[in-house]
Point group: C2
Chain length 315, copies 2
């Protein structure tokens, strides 16, 4: 699976690395791992891009974070997309270069020229580690730090599916290369803002149970953001907290966007494939975490439609 | 370090296993691991004891959990204490048998006849794994499940100090033996009660910052327990959440007990050794997590005394 990508990367002189908009730790960590590894070889010009307005500050400790650019022009021999299931999620009109795609989303559309996509992987970071290692690319302490951070980000610190014996062995190797697990955890989880904590309390106050307490719904309004001073991304964990209830299979976060759109995040626990529900509304994601956006409807209408779908899935 | 304990266990016919009161996942998991392993040999009578009124339900999935007894009488050749730093934390007057102590607390008082205590270990579970493995005791799927659960419990899912390359390798082995990491995570973290979530929101609402926002204090009153229906142990995470703020080094949870005592939990992030502060008040614990109880004083008085100590530690 890796051979063609290895040859393409070795041959390329000007390489563009790009990850999906609103990047998470896996998107940033996996692309920065490749960035740091290719920088070491010295013989390539490498640019790392994410077109999002804001990158999550909790990953600003990753080596190369400050090199991530919002823009790029042409002139690349090769582009590599990370953690991205469809071309439009890259947030750019087109890329004038052959494209490699490293991904682990089951909903991946196969948009790249060379697709390296395996949904059995815990994270794109784990996949990139296997690629770099088997292809003989450099994995120093900085590369290892980016990969380990990608892995813990996408596994919720080893709590989700696809955490297996092989992944722990790889993490043992990454730590051997110099990663400090408690430092990474501190950077990612121990630099919360007071605004975020205040927002969390407000969101928890909206928690309501539906469908025999199998579905927990929490809400985020623009007013709540204004009164706490928190950022919209500060609400991400709220859907996870809703899901953590014993009776609950699906946690739902309804988010009011500045333009009045309703953004819906779905998190499931054991058997509901929320990526299916998200696809119905034109969104996407994983079995256990997916999302979509609805235009021109209020919270109650959107919630009713979502519950109608979930009712069938829970039956 | 293991040889004497190995011989003592091999020789014993009637063995008592006991862990500290108000047990956490490490106390339960490490003692149940030994219980399951010794049960398999068949030739011993083994009793597992914890004298606490309530055991945390989140660990009721561990094999043998329902065998944990509140009481025991005499007649044992050997007793083994797990995860316990001082004899009084076992909650019993005396034990009429030679005592082995497996522990990793730096504050361990060396009360056992054979002390197997190493503070460089992440958890007593990790230590017991090394012991069972090097001593040739059986480690089947059930034993592995108890050990893995002890490890994730005491490392906060691989986020605290003492998580190293060797620990990840051991976890790789435990998963190889049949442990499902996402099942364990679901059992421990995804069976929350609505009462606990409501309590969490209430506790977060009390959050106040002191000493240039280096200390975050949250409070739990008996009224909050009554109005939510939550249990006192449901508040444990609140001190962790207080500590997670970027500016904060120490998170403090002040807890009103039914008799009016004030129970204080301290959690530190990087450099304050909270076990020192706890010792001053007659309590104990780890560098990063410790606690104590104060009689006959109100919240404000206790808080003032705690802040006076912390001020020096933060200076």
């Amino acid at each position: 699976m890796f051979e063609r990508a290895k040859e393409a990367i070795e041959k390329a002189k000007r390489v563009l690395l790009i990850s999906h908009v609103n990047p998470d730790g896996d998107a940033l960590g996996s692309s920065l791992a490749m960035f740091n590894s290719l920088q070491i070889t010295g013989s390539k010009r490498v640019r790392i891009v994410n077109v999002s307005d804001d990158l999550p500050r909790s990953y600003d400790f990753l080596p190369g974070f400050e090199k991530i650019s919002k823009t790029f022009s042409g002139g690349y021999d090769l582009a590599i997309a990370f953690d991205c299931a469809s071309f439009d999620r890259l947030g750019v009109d087109k890329i004038d270069a052959p494209l490699i795609g490293f991904d682990h989303h089951p909903t991946n559309e196969g948009f790249a020229d060379i697709d390296i996509n395996d949904p059995s992987y815990s994270s794109t970071g784990e996949l990139v580690y296997d690629f770099l290692k088997s292809s003989g690319f450099v994995i120093d302490k900085n590369v290892a730090l980016c990969l380990y951070s990608a892995i813990v980000s996408d596994t919720g610190f080893f709590r989700y599916e696809n955490v297996n014996s092989a992944l722990f062995k790889k993490c043992s190797e990454l730590v051997e290369l110099g990663v400090d697990p408690s430092y990474v955890a501190d950077m990612i989880t121990q630099r919360e803002s007071l605004a975020k904590l205040r927002l969390k309390a407000k969101i928890l106050d909206t928690l309501t149970l539906y469908l025999n307490a199998r579905v927990a719904v929490v809400k985020l309004t623009q007013d709540m953001l204004k009164s706490t001073g928190a950022a919209p991304s500060d609400a991400e964990e709220a859907a996870n907290m809703a899901r953590s209830l014993a009776t609950v299979e699906v946690g739902v976060l309804l988010r009011e966007e500045p333009n009045g759109d309703v953004k819906v995040s779905l998190r499931s626990k054991r058997f509901v494939d929320v990526s299916k529900a998200a696809l119905i509304f034109g969104g996407g994601g994983h079995k256990r975490a997916a999302g979509f956006t609805v235009k021109g409807k209020d919270f109650d209408t959107v919630l009713k439609e979502v519950l109608d779908i979930l009712k069938k899935e829970l039956a």
